[in-house]
Point group: D2
Chain length 356, copies 4
């Protein structure tokens, strides 16, 4: 990889929590260089420092170079090769399409296009072959650019653990209950009065996302379409008083015989990106913790720079076959880090060449 | 009910969190009067005020009459008719047996005897007929007194919702994930450093308790034994940063056809103690909340004076048949209040007469 | 007091957190009856239940009678005798003046008029003689009604403890650092992400309010004006992760000699409303806790139904003379309860007669 | 500095929270190498991994080399040149003296010897000349080694801000109210039930430590003794629900005229270790934040790797002269990091030569 000339990236929705995470993760990136920041009207024509005054949530200073960059409109006239989108779903659809139409590669964290038939919902360890949809997308939409999405934060960590189980034992059914962190709701997000001494057993649209996205990601390319995985999935999603890191209690039914050690082996051996040297990729996507009370968000969310899904308590289930707990960082592997890893993988595979 | 002469009750383990809850709930009870407080050596020969100094957790003053009572040894020479046991499981077995042997009625919140074949694990709305075991217990153990237990806090609220489903539609399978409050671990219990900004996906022995107790409580008397309910149950138990109130996400598979409205009707009509006027009984044991984001511990745990199981989000499950959320107070309906309700029911049925 | 005919009260800003607290506190009030609810446009023409859907924060059901009341505009055509104002400061000034002009008695919790020269900033235990300002107000403003304000939540609990010290020993200087609860910021107020695992050492305008209001409240009527108390006051105000209850660390310098026991005596004997039987009044406005680690918000904020200032840790200060901690409920004694107590006191003194 | 041969260090009390912090901070230290770990009986003869199982609180894995080291007794037969003491005050006095007697240099974080007349209470930016006491100590105690202490966590951040004020304007009086983090109480420390939704306005012995230590640290060597600074100091210490980072609201009276800009200049220019290249030293010991709501523990405690005191809200005080807020990491600059910096400074000055 010639690192002399970095790929110029813009960030759409740069002032929000996911936008900030892109900046945090990209500030020393060997391949990508932030050249543009864009956001809604409220922030435009300000420096980034002014735009996020009182709203910057990472416990480090804003990088000096970024501080003084001007925040621009989310219009497709930015000086960059690709854009990372951290836009709110309410506006993402149209803006992302404008950018794709104008020839930008769009790596989107928004939910707007995730379930579109011709849009990859990409996790490079799981469904890299879904990138074939880009040809379909180009044909359908006549765009010079493209839209590639990454999954919802809760979906991401769930499906990273389901993939090896599906490969080895063929998944049949999945029940998952999530305990999701505050930062998943953005900023300002959840009111402190609502969550102190409390659990909120509801997150709008979240359960549907987990159920649908998982089946798409695990699906197979059949001709120009994805055939969704034949897995029944049921999710219950809760908000708990945790800053970062979603915890998920999972039960699975498998079509093939297995025992707990088989599952451990399947998790341990899962590492499809090994050797590719993608900067954002974890050394291992699944980390197993053996202590009986792990994983825990505060202690484990930062493993592998926030890019791992941390699994523990793998054991028999009286109703389905097995149960376990998975924990992962929602802002990093579950959002900005996922988009960046997608871009890295696409660059590695040569998909970005034509945009540079 | 002649209320002139109150039943004299002692509290074993009076200084702990559940012991304190007994005092809080019994202070103006129309039938019962606290005449004795007993605890471990650390507290004996002190006034109750001294014994709980810096440890009293209810946000009201200790009742004046209780403040100056002497804390005694947990020896069966107390001046009372029945005892409520809030003892730690590590010592409860022996002490409770001593009291039963010596002719006391023991209403126990401890786990030690819950699964004994000849000990009722009583929830009066569900399995009052299990009190028939007292004859078996008397024959087996030659005790002048008795031991009647109430269930684990998480079990209690789960099984209160399962009972009407089982009656109407016959339960087949249950998967439950709990998010349990801090007070369930007693005092001092969980370290603040362990739970701030965190979830702990493990509570020692809790999952087994939920799985086993539920099947016993839903079981039927067959001759002198309980035949456990033929239901598969799987539990995942988590500690979250909530003071009081356990939240449980439940999925159920039923043997009979039903729809969401049927479940609502089954929950709504469930009220077996109606009309008995037991002081601790809720007006309705199951409260349904229709808001999409309820029940929530902070907002709903005190409904019906903490004696209700509050249900919400009843909906279809893609894997089993239905799913819902149930929330209830772990210290009241899930512990001390349950023991008191058991005593009230037994008194109403005449089981306590011989001890007065 | 003839309780046959209750005084009809309206609540302005009825849907916010303080508005809700008025409803919570007035639902069984022996003298006052809520006949009108008013709020901003967003809520008008809805039932109260609809207007606060998902925003009702008290852990009890909304009173049935209130649930179905229509929320009206904040226009002075309401069917009531007096209004309690829980309006936001940004709109309170004009609306409250409209009501006063139209002949309503306005008991305001808003800050807009607190520092006006002809408006009483009333705490009946402290400065009942400031009600003489109502004559001045009438003359100045030509209103048929009136505006009487109560103090900021932090000021209220501070000044309740300063009053007996000033009476007995003459205050010279006061330094106070507050640790204020979330509910003081209204709803939704503080973002959970901002306060989890955090302290925010800033509350807009709060320090000035504490410093200025205290000197007015402790001031004396000189002719038609209040001469502010000659006390130097410095405040530092912080937001902490507590639901309700402001904790304040106070240091005082006195002009007369005193020792710790003298201070205790001054606090203990302070009870100017004793014997008046005002329904909202605490039995004692100052409660002293002797335990070395009290008062604490979670354990002490509800003493005296939330109407007490709870004091502890009275001891020598190396810099000024003495220091102590005071804690009190910010929504009750610090807001809605204060307004209600003011109305009760005014009714007792006959100030409301002409409005009935 | 010849970095070829590292100084061998042992950690006393290696399993506690401060002990863990020493390990976390020293794992890649250029001058020091951990060769010994020692702790109480409970942990001895276990590997470090076993000894801290379920108690390791840093969100990174235990360094591999450390994991398998044996935990030894706190006896002065360890293979190391100096020891860092993270012992509990209840045992520190005797053990530390044993080590000093046996020729070890002891860098202690415990409170036991801090106020001893012949023991430096060292903060190298403030009172390096107090190291002259080591001659006195040697003469008094006949030790081959030495004991040098660092200050209490709250004292440390306070006095780092007081030093430049004293140098420039001569301090007269100081009032400070602290809001201290949970980790300051060690592990398990504070019960979650005690601090959720709460403030505890009491920390045993803390206020005396702050008041006394500050005057010693700011004191001057007069012959063989320290003359304490002639400053009146009053502290109120509170525990709040924050993981790490103590926040302190300070008011100061100065003997010389100054204005806010002068204070800022004094803080900004304070950097006595500049240019010494001590590995643990911050680039600047005092960081000023200009935002009106800073410093905040969650956002600012990690600045300068946790070694800075972060100051904000410098403004006039109505009672004393000025007030401001200071925030700092209690486990790093307030504990383990302070000891390490002391050792670095002593090494730089040649004090450790004879122990190597």
């Amino acid at each position: 990889m010639n690192e002399m000339k970095k790929i110029k990236v813009g960030i759409l929705g740069a002032t929000g929590l996911v936008g900030q995470t892109f900046i945090y993760l990209l500030k020393d990136h060997p391949w990508f260089e932030i050249t543009e920041l864009a956001a809604s009207e409220r922030s435009t024509n300000k420096t980034y420092y002014e735009a996020v005054l009182g709203r910057w949530r990472w416990p480090v200073e804003i990088p000096d170079k970024i501080k003084n960059m001007e925040v621009k409109d989310c219009k497709p006239n930015l000086d960059c090769d690709i854009v990372f989108s951290a836009l709110d779903a309410s506006v993402a659809k149209e803006i992302e399409e404008d950018f794709a139409k104008s020839g930008y590669g769009v790596l989107s964290n928004a939910s707007s296009h995730r379930m579109d038939e011709d849009v990859p919902l990409l996790i490079p360890e799981i469904n890299p072959q879904h990138l074939e949809l880009l040809d379909v997308q180009k044909k359908n939409r006549k765009w010079d650019g493209f839209v590639v999405t990454n999954a919802n934060c809760t979906t991401t960590h769930l499906v990273l653990t389901l993939k090896p189980l599906n490969d080895w034992f063929v998944l049949d059914k999945v029940i998952v209950t999530s305990m999701q962190a505050l930062s998943g709701a953005g900023y300002p997000g959840v009111a402190a009065l609502d969550i102190i001494d409390n659990v909120i057993p509801f997150i709008k649209n979240e359960e549907q996302k987990v159920e649908n996205e998982t089946r798409k990601i695990l699906g197979e390319m059949k001709g120009s379409k994805i055939e969704f995985a034949n897995v029944a999935i049921s999710a219950q999603c809760n908000r708990v008083n945790v800053k970062d890191g979603h915890t998920e209690c999972v039960s699975v039914k498998l079509r093939k015989q297995a025992n707990v050690d088989d599952l451990i082996e399947a998790f341990e051996e899962f590492n499809p990106l090994k050797g590719l040297n993608l900067p954002m990729a974890p050394n291992k996507p699944i980390i197993i913790k053996n202590e009986e009370d792990r994983p825990q968000p505060k202690l484990d969310r930062e493993l592998e720079k926030g890019m791992a899904s941390v699994v523990g308590r793998i054991r028999k289930c009286n109703v389905l076959d097995f149960k376990y707990v998975v924990l992962g960082h929602n802002l990093i592997r579950g959002a900005a880090g996922a988009s960046i890893l997608n871009a890295e993988y696409m660059h590695y595979k040569g998909y970005l060449e034509e945009y540079l």
